[in-house]
Amino acid sequence: MALMSYAQAACSALAGAMRADAGVVALGEDVGNGGVFGQYRGLREEFGASRVIDTPISEATIMGAAVGMALTGLRPVVEMRVVDFALCAIDEIVNQAAKNRYMFGGQGRVPLVARLPIGIWSGSAAQHSQSLEAWFAHIPGLVVVTPATPADNYALLAAAIECGDPVIYMEHKELWGLEGEVPPEPTAVLGKARIARGGTDLTLLSWSGMLHTALAAAEQAALQGVSVEVIDLRTIWPWDRETVLESASRTGCLLVAHEAVQAAGFGAEIAATVAEALGIPVKRVGAARIPVGYARTLENVARISTQQLLQELKEFLNNRGRKRSMR
């Protein structure tokens, strides 16, 4: 058990994978100097520049080259800094990495991990603050992972590198410095959600940075006598329906909270699925469909605060069962 930051946990998982398998390489801008968030620190020193590969600012080719590497025996870990820059490599992710195995009839495999951090990055405004996990969930062939804690970043990054499918690995832009205990034996597997806090009155489902807001809201709700079960989804695709449906059918209602824009966010998929399967009250809390502004005042409007989440949660609980009226 070691105390590590979220960034260190990722480094440690990657270093472990690189030690175990000479085919694991990391490539992207500034990885040689440790990554601008320290998420590759020490790796070039240990594994050399031929495996910790500094690249030109060429996102399309970083992703495309990783596909070529993955097809021919390597297991590349692709650094994109933030999901927003990966928008320069979408053809390579969606048309090439995701579809390769299928469209070539299973001749090849694309075992790569693309690191595309999501979330609002304080003061970075509209082009550096997106959460696009729903996009990748919509694309057949991709696995989508959103670790929320150092322990999960350790376990899930290691699992993603082993996975063999192309994995969109979405760390959170503001969790790099978050510290936590990281057990040496991985405590998370891909595709399995975690009940982060037990409860009986309502299921509150979240992932990534919003998990911490959800836990804080549950804490406060408890003080007010409401027992909230908090689930960390961890993997967006394939998502753990069993855990979610079991919890939701037990508590009788489901609230999904995410940092992404609510409209067409992944919360819609979960809410729709639960409504279809259980017919119980569902509700989503996500960001307004607005770009993230620079000024703190604007950024705050684009964030979901603990208070706001708590408020929505209470309203939802109070109205539940009385939903047949038109809004």
Partner: protein, 345 residues
């Protein structure tokens, strides 16, 4: 059929005969595919016909055979190749099975891709052919990555990366060439210049002196060649491949040829001057190779025998493709991904 393995010091006739055969096989394949693709797609004013055996856009390399043949004659089976939407010739020349290829175009389980890709995604990884691609220039970064991988893994494989004249106006051309050069990767970039990008003459869309000039601007040595003269392509490829194998880093070859057919098989190419086609046909690579063989004293019967063998081969491939069963519907769920398999909705 394995790629040609004739030696560099073969006589011209010995060198030319297998090249001629490769070209003849490609031509026969393209003609057969064209025939089976009538009504394949609703575009260019054509409407689609549900009875068409080959479906969707079919991009023929008719008239461009010398490029595929000349380049691939200098590759081994272990070398890699990435291709474009117009990839039948590259695939055949790299050594893929002609029957499996035809089955692919017919949407059969016995196809190279189990019928999952069709013409635009034809591939045969077993012979190093890493795939045709439906996205212009998308093969370039993949080729570069395969070469980077070969270098990291200490493999001797090199990569031949084919793309069209239109592709040099897409970003990945710059990015891929820059990448290949800074890492000194073993890639032969081949710009197969057939002068058209769909309905548009590429010339008007391309600033400067084209692929070779751009490559040089990025520090990559580049050569140009008559892409309809298979011996010239072969000789130039031999030289460039030798340089690459010797560690000289990426090289580019600009091969000038001509797109004899429309953009896809149903395109009558009404937008171009018929006289342009007529004069281009005079430089048909198979015709040129035939004349050259005759000039080199190869007996007409030798050539005729190749032609007959090729015809028989394609007839057999067509017959097999016709009678092969369609891909099983359940295959729709296979080869998607391991994690999450089963969770289809």
């Amino acid at each position: 059929m394995a790629p040609d393995t004739s030696e560099a010091n073969d006589s011209p006739a010995e060198r030319l005969l297998p090249l001629y055969r490769t070209m003849a096989r490609i031509r026969a394949f393209e003609n057969a595919a064209e025939e089976a693709s009538r009504g394949s797609v609703a575009a260019f004013g054509a409407s689609s016909d549900a009875a068409s055996m080959i479906r969707g856009p079919l991009h023929l390399s008719t008239g461009q055979e010398a490029v595929a043949a000349g380049i691939c004659a200098n590759l081994t089976r272990d070398d890699y190749l990435t291709s474009t939407h117009r990839g039948h010739g590259h695939t055949l020349a790299k050594g893929a099975n002609i029957t499996a290829m035809m089955c692919e175009l017919f949407g059969r389980g016995a196809g190279t891709n189990k019928g999952k890709g069709g013409s635009m995604h034809i591939a045969d990884f077993a012979v190093g052919m890493l795939g045709a691609n439906g996205v212009v220039a998308a093969g370039i970064p993949i080729a570069v990555g395969a070469a980077h991988s070969a270098k990291i893994r200490g493999s001797k494989a090199i990569v031949a990366c084919f793309f069209g004249d239109g592709a040099i106006n897409r970003g990945p051309f710059l990015e891929g060439l820059n990448w290949a050069k800074i890492f000194e990767l073993p890639v032969l970039f081949v710009c197969e210049d057939n002068r058209y990008s769909a309905t548009t003459a590429t010339d008007a869309m391309t600033a400067g002196d084209g692929a070779a000039a751009r490559a040089r601007g990025i520090g990559i040595p580049a050569e140009s060649v008559d892409g309809n003269d298979v011996l010239a392509v072969d000789a130039m490829a031999r030289e460039l491949v030798a340089r690459i194998r010797a560690g000289a880093g990426p090289q580019l070859l600009h091969a000038l040829t001509y797109r004899v057919k429309g953009h896809v098989s149903v395109d009558a190419a009404a937008y171009r001057d018929p006289r342009e086609l007529e004069s281009a046909l005079e430089g048909d690579p198979l015709k040129l190779a035939g004349l050259r063989l005759a000039a080199l004293g190869v007996a007409a019967a030798t050539v005729a025998k190749i032609d007959t063998e090729v015809r028989n081969e394609i007839d057999a491939a067509l017959a097999a493709a016709h009678s092969a069963p369609a891909t099983e519907p359940d295959e729709a769920y296979a080869d998607v991904q391991d994690l999450g398999a089963g969770q289809w909705r």
